[in-house]
């Protein structure tokens, strides 16, 4: 018996049965890697390798290889760090916040979004670690360990240390959440496999047997993890924004930073989820699970968070004028009309105008338009971080120390390295792990599937 709602659109099309879900999702895990996958994976690994040369040079010769100077002591590294962390946020938002809100449309996309979170956070972490210069000593500076300077401890008053705790907690909790979600699906693959595959997926599935008692506990664990991860979504980017907001640099020292950073993070995260999901759905033929309905709903989230970001930009300007502090006023005037005007206006165009296009139903249900806008949004969000960081730093308090930032090939190489790392990990995930949460999707087949053909 199928139940169809006249109010809600089906989340699964094509008249799928529960068994079809297993077949469709397990197919790409069980099949030999396709040529397309091999090519994409190959390109990622090559990118990773080329980028690694820049990482190696940075480790060998020090961060003097980067384009930083005494005035702009923080540029692409922290831009990329904040950008990658932000991208991660959509995954947790989709899997945790939407779970608490009982949004069933999250089910087809949460697995890949969570994977994206984990890989993005790994990429993000590369930057502060490399910025340490000698990361092998980093544990002594970043973790509360007794060290050789006497028992001088880390500084718990520092937002940079808060970052260490926030990012590592975020990473490990997201990893556990993701893995736990994978366990029942690994069991499904285990029971279809034989030989070595059975052993590997058997170990990964932790001996899952689908007992009602376990499911009951599992559901309550998922719900509490979601409840724990929800404030984590807010706290991580809030703490990242504290890196700036607790300082006294004009252009950074603003109370709007925490909510504005969180909105920006979700904005860029959803854009990245869309970029990846549009490709994944086409390559793995998952159009029946990731439907236009899903894309439209994600676009609406982008539209809302993009508008919040837009309002935040305007508010920052208003407050800098209203504060009557010349240094603040100058910082914002300089952003718009100074030497980095092009970065500022790129940011404005990409982040404020492009999401507004989604008011049109035609655009937000168009795959091509969504794909293009999702990339524009990610470019715009990168510029946002760049503008905040570099424009605020390059005009120091003394005009004699005013400077510009020019990235070197090593800056670009390290950024490239993280792209290679991200896509290498994502392609491995897409090949060897079920990209859609089968168990969850199966639970809505009856209520949210399109009516089966008679």
């Amino acid at each position: 018996m199928q139940v169809t709602s006249s109010v809600r659109k089906p989340l699964i099309t094509g008249g799928k049965t529960v068994h079809d879900v297993t077949e469709d999702i397990c197919r790409q895990v069980e099949a030999k890697p396709s040529k397309l996958w091999g090519m994409a994976f190959g390109i990622s690994v090559v990118t990773l390798g080329i980028g690694f040369l820049a990482v190696a040079a940075t480790l060998w010769d020090g961060i003097g290889m980067w384009g930083l100077n005494k005035t702009v002591g923080w540029a692409w590294d922290i831009t990329n760090f904040v950008w990658w962390v932000g991208i991660g946020h959509a995954g947790t938002l989709i899997s945790a916040v939407l779970l608490l809100f009982r949004q069933k449309w999250r089910m087809a996309i949460n697995r890949a979004a969570e994977a994206m979170t984990i890989f993005a956070v790994i990429c993000a972490a590369m930057f502060p670690v490399l910025h340490m210069g000698r990361p092998w000593l980093g544990a002594y500076w970043a973790l509360p360990l007794p060290n050789t300077f006497g028992s001088l401890w880390v500084n718990f008053n520092s937002p940079l240390l808060w970052d260490v705790f926030a990012i590592s907690t975020y990473f490990s909790v997201s990893l556990v959440f993701w893995y736990l979600g994978l366990v029942p699906d690994f069991a499904t693959i285990r029971d279809r496999a034989s030989g070595l595959r059975k052993t590997i997926y058997g170990a990964l599935s932790l001996g899952w047997d689908g007992a009602a008692k376990t499911w009951s506990r599992y559901e309550s664990v998922s719900l509490i993890l979601a409840g724990l991860a929800t404030p984590l979504v807010l706290s991580v980017h809030t703490i990242v924004s504290f890196d700036f907001a607790t300082s006294v640099i004009p252009g950074w020292h603003t109370t709007i930073f925490p909510p504005y950073f969180v909105a920006g993070a979700i904005f860029s995260g959803f854009a990245m989820v869309l970029t990846l999901m549009l490709v994944t759905r086409a390559v793995f033929k998952l159009q029946d699970y990731i439907t236009i309905e899903h894309i439209e709903l994600m676009n609406i989230v982008i539209m809302v968070t993009g508008s919040i970001v837009g309002i935040a930009y305007i508010t920052e300007f208003f407050i800098s004028w209203y504060s009557g502090v010349p240094a603040e006023q100058y910082a914002f005037y300089n952003r718009m009309n100074g030497p980095y005007w092009w970065a500022y206006w790129s940011m404005m165009t990409c982040n404020v105008i492009s999401p507004q296009l989604f008011w049109s139903k035609k655009i937000r249900t168009s795959i091509a338009a969504t794909f293009i806008i999702s990339i524009i949004v990610n470019i715009g969000m990168w510029f946002e971080r760049f503008v905040i960081i570099v424009t605020s730093l390059h005009r120091d308090y003394l005009p004699s120390s005013w400077a510009m930032f020019y990235p070197t090939i090593y800056d670009m190489g390290v950024y490239l390295f993280t792209f290679g790392l991200f896509f290498t990990l994502f392609f491995l995930f897409a090949k060897f792990f079920p990209v859609i949460n089968m168990a969850e999707v199966k639970s809505i087949v009856k209520s949210s599937s399109e009516k089966q053909p008679a």
Partner: protein
């Protein structure tokens, strides 16, 4: 020293029929060993009479442990062991300790609860689950009745009870312990 258990299993393909069937089987006085499903069936734990999980309590306790640990660590390190004035603040600048305290609370709550869950549900990489039916992880629900615990009825009666409740198939299974 191998020991074996005899089960009679009913196989279902619809979660609503399964829920209804659990109710009927229990009403008929049969003890259900366990129900196995490919996805979480809401309301099944109530029908089976399972008590509410105490995992939320575990999560809370671990969270409190995290809070205590974080505060003790920060107060001891910066307030007692090596006091230092940073930015003119107190040695023990509690508002500044909030982020780390929050993060450790969440970290310990999450890890503690998941650890408790894995232990209480006996999930571990080297476990062989001994499924009663291979289709449990695909698309079939399985209701298992342990013969040893239902001596009041004979096999035929149990089988017909399962059939009547809507099971598609009824099979006998022997599981080596």
């Amino acid at each position: 020293m191998s020991d074996s258990k005899d089960f009679i299993i009913g196989v279902y393909d619809d979660e609503d029929v399964l829920l209804d069937s659990v109710r009927k089987i229990r009403a008929a006085g049969l003890k259900i060993h366990e129900v196995y499903t490919p996805f979480p069936v809401h309301g099944l734990d109530d029908e089976l009479g399972y008590k509410k999980s105490r995992l939320p309590i575990a999560a809370f306790m671990f969270g409190m442990l995290g809070t205590t640990l974080a505060l003790t660590m920060q107060i001891w390190m910066l307030g007692i062991d090596w006091p230092m004035i940073i930015g003119g603040k107190n040695y023990v600048a509690l508002p500044d300790f909030v982020p780390v305290t929050f993060e450790l609370t969440v970290l310990l709550a999450a890890f503690g609860m998941v650890g408790t869950f894995l232990v209480s549900s006996d999930l571990k990489p080297w476990k062989d689950p001994k499924l009663l039916d291979i289709r449990i992880t695909d698309d079939r629900h399985v209701l298992a009745i342990d013969l040893a615990k239902n001596k009041a009825m004979d096999v035929g009666q149990i089988e017909s009870a399962l059939k009547d409740s809507g099971a598609l198939e009824v099979n006998e299974k022997k599981v080596e312990e």
